[in-house]
């Protein structure tokens, strides 16, 4: 867990050795420590039941940690009930008050603070403007579309100008097309306001597009923290490699171990990896190779000794901008290969049953030792 600012002064949000044990065997959150910098959008990514929502609920104050500390801007949050924390949350499927109008939903938190009436009106108007819902102020939540409800929920959670904004599956209730549009919009709004944000999602694309840093969680533990690109390109473990995006995992043994390169023998090919790893010759390792980093051709590449595999195309899925091929190698392993469809019509397009050569560069693999 590296400090986001490269050390120095303490992070804005510090989570230290946090544990939540509901009893009954599994620990929901298991000794988690994290630092989130001011103004950052931080994503907790994991499949359902990994503990990410419990962690978020502890930040909001809905769950009491079994042990550990949460410090926000130097203030320990232990013992503060949710209604006293300078934190607001946008709930999964929004939890808008059905009996109140959009206007009253947004004003709800401000009224609790005993803000003067005209200040409330001013703030609500500016929030409505921010999420472009001015026309809908007098509507009830059920009269709005899913996307509009999502924006009301965002406005409501931002209205009190919280120090920390929590987003629980912020786009989970929207359909795919709307989700993609809203991702950008949401980030723009959050950045415009300049609030520090912790979000929870099971959707890796959502985490990658929205967050400045991602923490991958599994079984209550944090497996890796880093910028989206780092987590994707240099996954630390087999689980992370497999969880984020598509990947081909090939088991092999370390044959040559040099400071500037290593060679790994697998069933179908020999990997030449252009960087050193910490290991000993003969140890079992796993090579992770992303489908888009593999090149597919009918003829054998010039240097067929390393980073080359031959197989038969068993399956192809056309996605418009790219095509995913399933190449069956000699050992029976299915190698996923993704090729961008650069040209409209390719005369020699590969198809079912064709023999093909796959090859990749020495800088495309990641060697996983755990």
């Amino acid at each position: 867990m590296s400090a986001p600012n490269g050390g120095g002064d303490a992070a804005f949000l510090q989570i230290r050795d946090l544990v939540k044990d509901f009893g009954g065997g599994a620990v929901a959150v298991n000794h988690v420590s994290l630092d989130v910098a001011k103004g950052e959008i931080f994503a907790l990514l994991g499949s359902s039941g990994c503990g990410k929502s419990t962690l978020l609920r502890m930040l909001a104050g809905f769950e009491t940690p079994t042990s550990g500390r949460i410090v926000l801007d130097g203030q320990d949050l232990a013992g503060l009930p949710p209604y006293l924390r300078p934190i607001n949350m946008m709930f999964q499927s929004y939890a808008l008050f059905p009996h109140l109008t959009v206007w009253d939903n947004i004003a709800f938190g401000l009224k609790r603070d005993g803000m003067p009436k005209d200040a409330i009106a001013e703030r609500v108007e500016s929030m409505l403007k921010l999420v472009q819902l001015g026309k809908f102020a007098r509507r009830k939540p059920h009269q709005l579309s899913g996307g509009q409800q999502q924006r009301v929920a965002l406005a409501r959670s931002l209205a009190k100008r919280p120090q920390l904004l929590l987003l629980d599956e912020p786009l989970g209730a929207l359909d795919k097309k709307l989700r993609e549009e809203t991702q950008i919009e949401l980030v723009n709004i959050v950045e415009q306001v300049g609030v520090t944000c912790v979000m929870v999602t099971h959707d890796q694309e959502e985490a990658m597009t929205m967050a400045s840093r991602i923490a991958v969680m599994s079984e209550g533990r944090i497996l890796q923290v880093g910028a989206p690109g780092d987590v994707y390109e240099t996954p630390a473990t087999r689980f992370v490699a497999d969880f984020i995006g598509n990947v081909n995992l090939m088991d092999g043994t370390l044959a040559v171990d040099q400071p500037d390169h290593v060679v790994i023998d697998c069933a179908d090919c020999r990997h030449y990896v252009g960087h050193g790893i910490t290991g000993t010759e003969g140890m079992p390792v796993t090579v992770a190779l992303r489908p888009e980093k593999i090149h597919l051709s009918r003829s054998a590449p010039a240097d067929a000794e390393f980073n080359t595999a031959r197989g038969t195309i068993r399956e192809l899925s056309y996605f418009g901008s790219y095509t995913v091929y399933q190449l069956q190698l000699a050992s029976g392993l299915m190698l996923k290969v993704s090729q961008a469809n650069v040209q409209r019509h390719r005369d020699e397009a590969l198809t079912w049953g064709d023999e093909a050569w796959a090859h990749w560069s020495r800088s495309s693999q990641v060697v996983l030792t755990s």
Binding site: P82, A95, P98, F108, G109, R112, H142, R156, S157, K160
Partner: protein, 308 residues
């Protein structure tokens, strides 16, 4: 042939909707019209005169309104209607005050114990209503457990000061015993709709309220209560309406101070044998009950519309 039958026989939908309608028509609207007719009829020894008479080429409609006139003139009726509404209202408020917390904690209880709690609410229905009301006579009478407990706690002095009982230690046949009996009897009718309403409430709304700075009490008052309005109204109607016309409980537990309209109705029918007068009293009572019911239905319809 089959097609012809299908066209002429009512479909399943029509039967499902039609049967309760026919039932209400036959056993509510029709009797009501009969009572209404009697209330404006003239008595002729033991028979009612026809409203429409045709004699010497003269068609005559006779509607006798003197009974209704009498109801407005004799303040006995006005007072008893008022007393009925008052006791019904007090009972409703008390049922709500006792029933709401009960329903609330029942709805928040662990899912495994909820059926048992629900069973406890409905358990009294397993014994005869008459028996249960009669039992209060023993409990509140001289040397009754409840009476002794109230005396020991010196609550009877408070009740005397409040004018609910005439003298310390005397609980039976007072407004106090009447209200106890009515609250006891009608409490389940308040709890059940409230429970049904509160149990389906989305608890995340309370979390959202808390997250936005509402204390638990504020969250309850600003979120739970408004969202359970439909349950509050349904429960209140189920208690208020039968309470207005209640006859058995005032008869068994009430006293000279607690004359209610049910008793007056009984006397008109069976002591005075003045059926037109009794019918008029009944018609006014039905109107007193139908007005709040109509308001309730209007509210329900609006709520449904809002949810749609």
């Amino acid at each position: 042939m089959k097609h012809l039958l299908r066209r002429w026989l009512p479909g399943g939908r029509a039967v499902v909707i039609g049967l309760p309608f026919a039932w209400l028509l036959l056993f509510f609207l029709l009797p009501f019209l009969i009572v209404l007719r009697i209330s404006v009829s003239e008595m002729e020894t033991v028979q009612f005169k026809d409203l429409l008479t045709f004699r010497d080429g003269l068609l005559q409609l006779t509607i006798k309104l003197s009974n209704y006139q009498f109801i407005t003139q004799d303040d006995l009726y006005f007072k008893t209607y008022l007393a009925s509404l008052k006791y019904a209202a007090v009972t409703t408020v008390l049922c709500l005050a006792i029933g709401y917390p009960f329903a609330y904690f029942m709805a928040r209880a662990r899912a495994t114990v909820q059926p048992a709690l629900l069973m406890l609410v409905m358990l009294p229905f397993w014994t005869s209503f008459l028996l249960r009301v009669y039992a209060w006579k023993g409990l509140l009478g001289e040397n009754g457990w409840v009476a002794d407990a109230l005396i020991a706690l010196r609550i009877d002095h408070v009740l005397v000061a409040a004018g609910l009982i005439p003298a310390a230690g005397k609980f039976m046949n007072t407004p106090f015993s009447l209200v106890i009996g009515m609250v006891y009897t009608y409490l389940p009718f308040m709890i059940l709709p409230l429970y049904a309403n509160l149990a389906k409430m989305d608890l995340r709304l309370l979390e959202a309220a808390s997250d936005l700075g509402a204390t638990p009490f504020k969250a309850f008052w600003l979120v739970t209560v408004p969202l359970s309005k439909a349950g509050i109204i349904a429960g209140s109607m189920l208690v208020f309406i039968p309470c207005v016309g209640e006859f058995v409980i005032p008869e068994l537990l009430g006293g000279p101070q607690t004359l209610m309209i049910g008793r007056v109705l009984w006397d008109e029918f069976f002591s005075n044998n003045d059926w037109p007068m009794a019918s008029s009293v009944a018609v006014v009572m039905i109107l007193l009950i139908i007005v709040p019911l109509a308001l309730f239905n209007k509210y329900q319809a609006e709520a449904v519309e809002r949810r749609a």
